[in-house]
């Protein structure tokens, strides 16, 4: 029994599968709840894509929404404009953002962390504006509507199931990367780029491929968004979305496997509970600040037991001191 529990705990994809199935079954009769699950899945996939690059290699990319946007528009144009199969759209939604991510990595990979973060923000601006301006292809600010649903995703309920499957696949990919030799190399790069290079790690190449993988995964989120909503517009996946995804990853725990998913669930629930969308943004920002100050490793990255033991030990030290003082007083 204990072995089974230990096995289960070490399989994050399995945990997500079980919890996800329970959530979908519980919400089956409520379309709004199912819609929330679909949104959570979209953000979770983008969160996992960011966790790959930020949590492992320490590279803060603020362009995940731009990569997702490229994937979404890619599949929207292929399926809605040219009547190509949805699965072909998925392949393109992975490959095109991945190729773009590789190109971006070649430009920004040599920069310091701060410059890289600013650069990805600028790339995001350029991509989103370019998409909005290329109206002949992308529909401009009106976007593309009537994106066909996949045959395996005819309605919002099946979309939630497909979303969960995609999240599980992405978690599995993240898990494989983390537990591999590649993952160790990325964490070494995050710790010290020069040391990594001296150990024979080709930093630029590794970061390039990781960027491409992260961008491709974000493209999957874009594909899912486009086909679950049947609509995509430039203001659907913006810099705000990139920042929201960053917040989710940090709140959940950037260095953990399930952190991005937990962050996506928690912040989506907060957003849904707050009546006003703008007020929700205020709560997002405050939540990020509080987590950064109090739980910098996020909800799942924090050693809760250690924190509690630390407080108990501090309490017992205080008690011991007051006891010894009392005893010293009695002795005198």
């Amino acid at each position: 029994m204990r072995g089974a529990i230990n096995f289960f705990i070490r399989q994050p994809a399995l945990i997500v599968a079980v919890v996800g199935i329970i959530a979908i079954v519980s919400a089956w009769r409520s379309l709004s709840a199912i819609d929330t699950i679909v949104v959570m899945c979209t953000f979770a996939i983008m969160g996992v894509s960011l966790a790959l690059i930020y949590g492992q290699a320490g590279v803060m990319s603020l362009a995940q929404a731009a990569f997702a946007s490229i994937g979404a528009y890619c599949t929207a144009i292929m399926t809605a404009r040219f009547d190509l199969p949805v699965l072909l759209g998925l392949i393109a939604a992975i490959l095109l953002p991945a190729a773009f991510g590789l190109l971006v990595a070649r430009v920004v990979g040599r920069m310091s962390h701060m410059a890289l973060a600013v650069s990805t923000l600028l790339v995001s601006q350029v991509v989103i504006y370019a998409i909005a301006s290329w109206s002949d292809l992308t529909g401009g600010y009106l976007g593309i509507s009537g994106i066909p649903r996949a045959f395996f995703m005819p309605d919002i309920r099946t979309a939630a199931i497909i979303g969960l499957i995609l999240v599980i696949v992405c978690i599995y990919v993240l898990q494989r990367v983390i537990r591999s030799e590649q993952g160790r190399a990325y964490r070494t790069i995050a710790a010290d780029g020069v040391l990594s290079s001296s150990l024979g790690i080709n930093v630029a190449e590794r970061l390039g491929w990781l960027f491409a993988l992260s961008a491709g995964m974000a493209g999957v989120a874009g594909w899912f968004y486009a086909h679950s909503r049947s609509f995509i517009a430039p203001d659907a996946l913006t810099i705000d979305t990139s920042l929201s995804v960053l917040f989710m990853v940090i709140v959940g725990g950037s260095a953990t496997i399930l952190g991005p998913v937990v962050g996506a669930v928690v912040l989506t629930l907060i957003r849904d509970m707050v009546p006003n969308a703008a007020l929700g943004g205020v709560f997002y920002g405050i939540a990020l600040i509080v987590v950064l100050l109090v739980l910098p490793k996020g909800l799942l990255g924090t050693n809760w037991l250690g924190m509690l033991r630390g407080r108990r030990r501090a309490g017992s030290i205080v008690d011991a001191e007051s006891t010894s003082t009392t005893e010293a007083g009695r002795t005198k």
């Binding site: 803060m60 070649r106 430009v107 920004v108 990979g109 040599r110 920069m111 310091s112 962390h113 701060m114 410059a115 973060a117 600013v118 650069s119 923000l121 600028l122 790339v123 601006q125 350029v126 504006y129 370019a130 301006s133 010290d192 780029g193 020069v194 990594s196 290079s197 930093v203 630029a204 190449e205 390039g208 810099i239 705000d240 920042l243 960053l246 917040f247 940090i250 006003n276 703008a278 007020l279 929700g280 943004g281 205020v282 997002y284 920002g285 405050i286 939540a287 990020l288 600040i289 950064l292 100050l293 910098p296």
Partner: protein, 286 residues
């Protein structure tokens, strides 16, 4: 020719505001190796609050809000530095706190003031010189920023507090050795960032107007102004702002309408790719 000169003057006028945000940012970066991304948020909220409240309370409250915003980031920075002293690694965390604050400020502006742009025509009319028509708001921007930069330069060069700030910017590690209260100076520098960004927001209100969504763009422009010539000093920060303003203005005037809006981000990307910003040792080049 007169059109070109008009656009140059407008570009310098807007660039002066970006430089105004970049001035304290470069001080903060030098002293703390932290970027305060929330500068755009301070400017937007300050502008919108000032427009909502009657004189003289509007500008006063606006400046207080900006200063308070800088104080929040400063306090977070100092708290995180004390944790870092105990071995916890968090070099990007203060910057992320400022990102969270920016997000909250922009959302607050949208929640409280709506999505409409706000503009206060405090300096109507144009100044005509040799056939060149320069809006009075542009003149006010340039003169105001020149005065503020002058006062800041005098403050930094001739006052004790200013010299302490320069010492912290030079080496925050060594400054305590000569008795400089580095933590207080760093905190004050963050507050100065908030104050000056709020000032930029007030000037922006009467030049181009402001709206909630401008927070992110202004933040990028303020940081971009600092990056153009690298963090070499106040002069380069101001000059960087002017260059950005010129690029923006001349791009709007002479480039196709669907290219002009992205000229500034592309320009900044090129600057960053060249590597002028790269002050961290150990960055590996592919």
């Amino acid at each position: 020719m007169t059109t070109l000169i008009q656009f140059i003057v407008i570009g310098i006028s807007m660039g002066a505001l970006y430089g105004l945000m970049a001035l304290p940012l470069s001080l903060v970066w030098s002293a703390t190796r932290t970027l305060d991304f929330a500068v755009g948020g301070y400017a937007v909220v300050a502008g919108m609050v000032s427009a909502r409240l009657a004189l003289p309370f509007g500008p006063i409250v606006a400046l207080l809000i900006g200063t308070a915003g800088g104080a929040i980031v400063g306090a977070a920075y100092l708290y995180l530095q004390s944790k870092r002293a105990r071995g916890e690694k968090n070099s990007m965390t203060p910057t992320l706190v400022s990102v969270g604050l920016l997000f909250a400020l922009v959302a607050f502006a949208q929640w409280q003031f709506g999505t409409n742009a706000v503009f206060v025509d405090a300096f109507p009319g144009v100044l005509e010189v040799a056939g060149i028509r320069i809006p009075w708001s542009s003149v006010v921007n340039i003169v105001s920023v020149a005065l503020i930069a002058g006062v800041l330069a005098v403050f930094l060069k001739f006052t004790r507090l200013g010299k302490w700030m320069r010492a912290c910017a030079g080496s925050a590690h060594d400054a305590p050795l000569v008795g400089i209260p580095v933590r207080s100076i760093q905190f004050g520098t963050f507050m100065l960032t908030g104050f000056m960004s709020a000032l930029a927001g007030l000037l922006l209100l009467s030049s181009r107007g402001t709206f909630f969504g401008a927070g992110f763009a202004l933040g990028i422009l303020g940081i971009g102004a600092m990056l153009v010539f690298g963090m070499r000093g106040l002069g380069t920060a101001l000059l960087g702002g002017m260059v950005l303003g010129l690029v923006e203005s001349l791009g709007t005037a002479f480039l196709p309408v669907n290219v002009a809006p992205i000229i500034v981000p592309v320009f900044l990307l090129v600057i960053l790719a060249i590597g002028k910003f790269d002050h961290e040792a150990g960055t590996v080049r592919p």
